[in-house]
Symmetry: C3
Subunit: 153 residues, 3 copies
């Protein structure tokens, strides 16, 4: 039916290498969201816990600062979309897809999610910027998961 995982989860397989590379880039991008949240917390002196208010008397606990909440929403959106991509992409590699298609889909997802973060949480750009960045990662992820369902069925 198919090649062994051995032949596919292998650094000689350009598709797997591309998956590993772009996934790791997205891992780093996603982890940086915590720094972005921290930056906004210190800048606005707004924290999530009483025990975090210790540097200044102006430090306060609040959950409605628009700058912080915007970064939090962007981070949650990453959890909702990038984490499923890690799984869908890995499974998709196992279906032995066309290298040209697969590598370009991985590039598209990575570029789209980086752009999504920028237009959502760094420099707010009017819609449909975020909508398009969202869809350009969402649809390929749906496609990959669907291909796995069809392949295994």
């Amino acid at each position: 039916m198919a090649k062994d995982a051995l032949d596919l989860l292998n650094f000689k397989n350009e598709v797997f290498k591309s998956y590993l590379f772009w996934s790791s880039v997205l891992l780093l991008k996603m982890l940086l969201m915590s720094l972005l949240t921290g930056l906004q917390r210190f800048r606005t002196q707004t924290f999530a816990n009483p025990e975090d208010c210790l540097l200044s008397k102006k430090d306060k606990v609040a959950y409605d600062n628009p700058h912080i909440e915007r970064v939090r929403r962007a981070h949650l959106n990453d959890l909702e979309n990038i984490l499923p991509f890690f799984i869908a992409g890995l499974f998709y590699v196992l279906t032995d897809p066309s290298a040209f298609l697969a590598i370009n889909l991985f590039r598209l997802v990575a570029a789209a999610r980086i752009l999504h973060t920028i237009v959502y949480a760094v420099v707010v750009i009017p819609q449909p910027a975020r909508f398009l960045a969202y869809g350009a990662a969402y649809l390929p992820t749906i496609y990959m998961a669907s291909q796995v369902v069809i392949f295994v069925f």
Copy 2:
């Protein structure tokens, strides 16, 4: 001690095939939560960002619409439970479990999480519907992770 990953992460291994199939079904189910949120946002004209309010003068920013927040909670619950299942299930395949048990656990988790979404965010059904659907996916995931701890120890 055990079979090689080669023998297990292989389409000849029915347990791995079952894991891939049901995980991909759950990936698609989880990704659809975003559409469900979007649907509720447009229906109630309630958005999370000022830049999203551009289709109608009635569009507003709010975080307390019960229909939207219900779908958001169901989605977050998916992140808390389905994403760990993807990892626990993959590790569990590597312990070379009984095919009968493993395949039926994967089916149970998938069915339970689909039911969980339906009774939580589509047609609200009184408890203990959601509680039972929750537990029927939670306990097998705990079991799988425990088996891996025991197996590797």
Copy 3:
């Protein structure tokens, strides 16, 4: 360029065994957060949905109970950090790292995330307790993902 996945995703590889063990421990720890939330919900009779208020007349729907929200934040922090570690750690195993370094990094991440939960959501301990526990898992995860980027590039 590198060993095959076969040689690495193998129970003879102590690095992979260590990854599987500590990841499964963290899976169980993360899944226990739901029980901790439930415990706080029943103790404070505060629920997230109207259909969950059925045991007592004092049961209410609220989203601002500090005990519950603290556990929820600790759980979300797990999703933001432990789930990426599962991916980064698995990829890192494939780069065939030094066993001494890799195994101790896995131990460090696991210990740090368990401590993070304790000082955040079980017994609140003043800063910098949580900050240090956070960093002791965050930096190794960044390191692992960076190593994969460099290795594959």
